[in-house]
Amino acid sequence: MNAAILVQAAGEFTRTSGGEAATFWVLAPVAVLAALGMVLARSAVHGALLLVVNLFCLAVFYLLQDAPFLGFVQIIVYTGAIMVLFLFVLMLVGVDSADSLVETLRGQRMAAIVLGAGFAGLLVFPIGGVISGTKAAGLAAANNGGNIQAIARLLFTDYVFAFEIVSALLIIAAVGAMILAHRERAGGKITQKEMLRRRFAAGGPVTPVPGPGVYARPQAADVTPALPPASDDPGHPGDSGDSAGGDADSPHPVGAGKGAAR
C-alpha cells in the first residue's frame, strides 16, 4: 500500500506543470530549510515554530496533490492543535533560554550527522529510483464523487475496524492521561459561599482593598504617595506616581476603544 501511494504521489509531480510545479519548487526548499532549522535551533520555541512551518508546507503539498481534505485537516490538527499544545507546554515549563551545549554523550553530534545523512540517502535514492518516471494511477477513481466523500466511504466501509480501533486507542490514551494526572483533593473544597461567610464572620473588609496610590494627596514626583491602609510598609515598590495621571503615556490608544472603553 505504501508503495502504491508513493507511486501515486510521485506520478502526480512528475506530470505537473505551471503553478503546481512553481508552488512545489518554492515551498520544498522552505520545508527542507525549516526542518533543518528545527534540528539546529538553539531555542526550543524557535524549533517548534520551524516545525510549524514545515508542517504547513506539507499541508500545501497535500493540497497540490488534489487532497484538499487531508491538507486542511493537516493544518487544523497538526499545525493548529498539536503544535499549539507543544508550544503551550514549552512556554508553561519555561524552556525559553537556549539549552546548555555540554554534550553528555561523547561524539553524539557526529554520529547523529552521519546516521541522519545515511538515512536520508537510503530514503532518497532507492525510492527515487523506483518512482522516477512512473505515472499516477487511479487518482481519478480515488476522487470519484468528490474527495471528502471518497475518504468517508473508505473510512466507513473498508477500514471501519481500523478506524474505530484507532479512535478507541486515542480515547483510552486520553482517559488514561487524565486518570494519571488526576489528584484527589485533600479535604473539601472551600466554596465561594463558604469563603464569603468566613470573610464576613471575621469582620474583614467587605469591599476590595483599594489599589496603590488611591489615597495620594500631592501630585509631586518627590513625595511618596500615601499607601492603602492595609500595609504599613513605607517603601512599597511600584507605588509611586500612579495617581499622577499616568494614562497619558500609555502605549495603547486610549481613544481606540480597547484601552478606554473596555
Binding site: L92, R153, G188, M195, A202
Partner: protein
C-alpha cells in the same frame, strides 16, 4: 489494500452520486476579475473594521447612558480613522527582553489568517460584472468551511507567540490562557458545524447557502446556540476576554506592543469578529438568501442579496456589542468548565440526534411504529420529570452533604499565617476591630483557594 482495488467494487457508482457540489462557477474568472474581487474583500474588511470600532463605542455608550465619540467626522463616525492615524504615528517600542524576530512576526501572523478566512464567504449569487458572469465570492472549495477553521487555528499563533516573545509575565499568562481557550472552544465550534454538514451534505460555503433556500439552518437550534457561544470564546470578546482581561493581566498578550504592531492585533481582533459573524450568517442564517417575509423573497437575484448578507452580518456584530455591554467577564475555571463539561457533551448528544433523525428520514418508510415508540419514550421521560420520585430524599442528601462539607472544610485557625515574625511590632488592624484580622484577609483572598 491499494486504492484501485478498493474502488473497483461495483457498489461504488450509486454511492458516488452524492458528490461535491457544482463548483464550475469558480475558477473561470479572468485575472483582473479575481484581483478586483480580492481587493473588494480586503476593502470590505477594512471598512467593516473601521465601522465596527465606532459602532461598538457608540452602542456601548448608549447602553451606559453616555454619548460616545461625537467629534471627528459627521456625528463622530470618523473617530476610528483618526485613531488609526494616531496609532501609526506613535513610537514603536521593542522591549529589551523580547525575542526580536518572533516579537515582530507575531502581529503579522495574527492579521494575515484573519484576512484569508473571508475569501470563501459568499456575498451573493451570480452577478454580471462588466459583462462577465461570476459569483460574488472570491473562491470556493469542496472543503471551504475547513479552510475557515484552519485559518482561525493559524491565527492562534499570533496570540501565543506575542505573549511568549514579549519576555514579560502578564503577556505570557495571557497567551497561555488564549491557547487553552481557543483550542477548547474550537472543539465545540467544530461540533456545531458537523450538524450543518450533515444537514446540507456539503462542506462548500456556496453549497450550504444554496441548500438553505427554504429552511435556514438556524432550525438546528442547539448547534446555532453552541456556535454563538463558541464564536465569542474564539474571538476573545467579553464575556470571554480572559486573554486580555485588563483587570487581571494589564492587557494580556498585547501588553508590550505599541504603534503599528498593536494596530495589527487590533485589526485582527475586529476582522475575526466580522469573520465569525459572516460564518454564522453563511452556515445558519441562510447567507445571502432573503428573509422569509412575503414580497421580500423575490429579491434573491443580482445585487440585492448583498443587502441581506450585510444586514445579517450587522445583526451579529450588534449581538457581540450587546453581550459586551451586558455581561461581566467569567472566571477562568468557570469558563473552561463550561466549555468542556457543557458545550462539548451537548454538542455530541445533539450531533447523535441529528444523525439519527437523518437516517430515520431517509430509510424508514413505515413511520407509525417508530413515532409511537418515540412518543411513549418521551411521555415516560416527561412523567418522570413531572412526578420526580425521590426528589425530596435527594435534596435532603445534598443538604446533609453540604453541611458535612462545611463542617469538614479545611480550617485556617491552626495555620500560623502570616508566619510568626521575630520582631514584636504587629501591624495594627486598619479595618474595624477584631484580633484575627490579618488571617481573615488571607482566608478571603488567596493562598488557600485551591484550583
Amino acid at each position: 489494500m491499494s486504492y484501485p482495488s478498493s474502488f473497483g467494487a461495483p457498489a461504488v457508482p450509486p454511492l458516488a452520486a452524492a458528490g461535491d457540489p457544482d463548483l464550475s462557477v469558480f475558477g473561470g474568472d479572468p485575472l483582473w476579475l479575481i484581483l478586483l474581487k480580492a481587493v473588494a474583500v480586503f476593502a470590505f474588511l477594512l471598512l467593516m473594521t473601521l465601522f465596527a470600532i465606532v459602532f461598538e463605542r457608540k452602542v456601548v455608550a448608549r447602553m451606559q447612558q453616555r454619548v460616545g465619540p461625537n467629534r471627528h467626522g459627521p456625528k463622530g463616525w470618523l473617530q476610528s480613522l483618526a485613531d488609526g492615524v494616531k496609532l501609526m504615528l506613535k513610537e514603536d517600542i521593542i522591549p529589551v527582553l523580547a525575542d526580536r524576530p518572533v516579537f515582530i512576526l507575531a502581529p503579522v501572523v495574527s492579521a494575515i489568517p484573519a484576512f484569508l478566512a473571508f475569501s470563501v464567504i459568499p456575498f451573493g449569487p451570480e452577478v454580471s460584472i462588466f459583462g462577465h458572469h461570476t459569483a460574488l465570492q472570491l473562491a470556493d472549495l469542496p472543503v471551504a468551511v475547513l479552510f475557515v477553521l484552519s485559518a482561525s487555528s493559524l491565527g492562534v499563533y499570533g496570540l501565543i507567540l506575542s505573549g511568549w516573545a514579549s519576555g514579560s509575565t502578564y503577556p505570557l499568562l495571557g497567551s497561555l490562557r488564549s491557547a487553552a481557550q481557543i483550542i477548547s472552544y474550537e472543539v465545540a465550534m467544530g461540533l456545531s458545524f458537523v450538524a450543518v454538514f450533515l444537514n446540507s451534505g456539503t462542506l462548500s460555503t456556496s453549497g450550504i447557502v444554496a441548500g438553505q433556500r427554504h429552511w435556514w439552518n438556524v432550525v438546528l437550534v442547539p448547534s446555532f446556540i453552541i456556535y454563538c457561544i463558541a464564536m465569542v470564546g474564539e474571538t476573545n470578546r467579553t464575556p470571554f476576554d480572559l486573554p486580555e482581561a485588563e483587570g487581571e493581566l494589564v492587557g494580556g498578550f498585547h501588553t508590550e506592543y505599541s504603534s503599528i504592531k498593536f494596530a495589527f492585533f487590533f485589526l485582527a481582533e475586529y476582522i475575526n469578529t466580522v469573520t465569525v459573524s459572516a460564518v454564522a450568517t453563511t452556515l445558519f442564517l441562510g447567507g445571502w438568501q432573503p428573509p422569509p417575509i412575503p414580497y421580500f423573497s423575490h429579491f434573491d437575484t443580482g445585487w440585492f442579496p448583498v443587502i441581506w448578507f450585510v444586514l445579517k452580518l450587522l445583526a451579529f456584530l450588534f449581538l457581540f456589542i450587546w453581550l459586551r455591554g451586558t455581561l461581566p467577564r467569567l472566571r477562568y475555571d468557570q469558563f473552561m468548565a463550561f466549555g468542556w463539561k457543557v458545550l462539548i457533551p451537548v454538542g455530541l448528544v445533539w450531533l447523535l440526534a441529528v444523525a439519527t433523525f437523518k437516517v430515520y428520514r431517509e430509510n424508514v418508510t413505515d413511520r407509525t411504529p417508530w413515532l409511537i415508540g418515540f412518543g411513549i419514550a418521551v411521555g415516560i421521560l416527561l412523567i418522570i420529570t413531572l412526578v420526580d420520585p425521590g426528589a425530596r430524599k435527594h435534596a435532603e442528601r445534598l443538604e446533609a452533604a453540604e453541611r458535612e462539607r462545611t463542617r469538614n472544610a479545611p480550617s485556617l485557625d491552626r495555620i500560623p499565617w502570616p508566619p510568626p515574625q521575630p520582631s514584636s511590632k504587629s501591624p495594627s488592624p486598619p479595618y474595624g476591630p477584631g484580633p484575627n484580622r490579618p488571617s481573615s484577609v488571607i482566608v478571603a483572598g488567596g493562598p488557600r483557594q485551591e484550583s
